[in-house]
Amino acid sequence: MNRVRRIARLLAVSYWLQIKMLATSAFEGVFQVIYPLFFATTAFLVFRQSNDPHALVYAGLGAAVMGIWSVIATTASGLLQRERWHGTLELLVASPTPFALVLVPTTTAMATQGLYSLVSTLVWAWLLFGITVPVASPVVFVIAIIAAVFSIALIGFLLSVTVVRYRTAWALGNMLEYPGWLLCGFLVPITLFPTWVAWIAYALPPTWGMRAIRSAADGGTPWGSIVMCLLLGVAYGVVGALISETVLRSARRHATLSLT
């Protein structure tokens, strides 16, 4: 029990301090708010051509969640590189805490930061395009968002772990950003893709998170999607935790921890 309590406290304190760190940079905060608006605007302009109010709501919700994905894809893969620059990566590795428990609160804080973009996109959609997103079940809607944020954070954890060994692997995150927008069904229904692509999409937690958010907004019952989103997220987290020690050992063997 003590061990569980200790881990819970470690995760909570680390998460809070990471949030504190991210929140102190006004530049990054503004960037997280403004950057997704360019893409959201493009999406709204395209979807507006259909003259279908449902399509605009679809795009509004999708563009809002897109920002959370973007934050994780671009920053989680660069997380360890940033720790290298700060000279803290070696200190984190040299601590007795399993590396997975060090990284999960950090990527969760990053995904939480993506909520800025979710709110700003919804406000932008309303102000400039008159898109109002009706939310039939607000509580379930919030639960679906939390599930999506958490599962995206765990993908971020897996992504950050896999790049321990290679210093320039942070570029991988940028490469995943746009395919993620399509594959997770943020803007385009997955049913439009070939079956094999749809299977890849179903293996990604944000696909289920997005589905749950839309269902909650429509007044549907998104619990199945929420559970799938969380299960897949945890599965990604477990894979990350399992490979983290192997990857770290490889980094110790190849002396890549201190390289900048």
Binding site: L10, S14, K20, H86, T88, L91, A94, T97
Partner: protein, 325 residues
Amino acid sequence: MPSEPVVEALDLHRSYRTRTGIVRRERKDVEAVRGVSFAIERGELFGLLGPNGAGKTTTIKMLITLLLPTRGTARVLGHDVVDAPRDVRRHIGYVFGGDRGLYERLSALDNLRYFSELYAVPPRDQKQRIGELLELVGLTGREKERVEGFSRGMRQRLHIARGLLHDPAVLFLDEPSIGIDPVGARELRATIAMLREQGKTILLTTHYMFEADELCDRIAVIADGGIVAEGTPEALKQRVRDGHVVEVETFGLPDGHVEVVRSLSGVRSVALEERGQAQVLLVQVEPGAEVTPGVLATLSDTKVGRVSAREPTLEDAYVELVSGS
């Protein structure tokens, strides 16, 4: 029965693979540490002294489990650094020099809170422990300020506090005084001496002779990846005490003269030191030998300033050991 050493390195080797070229990439193995062995007893302050690139940091990183040795073994408090890294990490503290290694956007207090969690310092003890350490390193009253506004000396002191949070039995200090001002360095040395008095076992790497001389119970001189001498500061000084040192100040010393002086009879070793506009030859002389006329003769085409003779210091012993390796 003799007690088991707290830190033990046996024939440690570590090589790095580097690559050159862009189109035709060539791999090259560089051996940074070649067969380093030493043992540190409980409560001892052991110095690892050597020039840049000698293998000090690589050795320390193998001992604190950040690098895997390519050959050899090392144990800390009986735990193997390869097979039981987590057991090693629980009992050691690691502090390195320079101003990196802290979260700039967090306050000193938050930095310490974060590492307290990582080192499983019980919550009920954290507040008191952090308070004591802030007092110890002289940062009481500044703990709520963000680290980005701290001077290098303050950062270094915060590093020390971070390394002591979990009250480790063994401390690894990797050039902790590098880049800090003389007053800060003196305070740091006083802190290290106090930690030794508290019974901590300490491995200190440095290239400052006076620091090693003042603090260390024993010193191992490391050069080119291997240990070239080991003993107490006194024993190391004794190696050169029998002779004396001639210092010759020159201006515009041409290439090749150091080698010529080194080849003179009675010369044990020669080092060249830049002091402002002058280049000073430090000539270590065998006992009873008189080399000054010979040295000056080799410098007939060079402008020579002050010439003096003095007793050897630990630094001279170090220079002889390092240049002779």
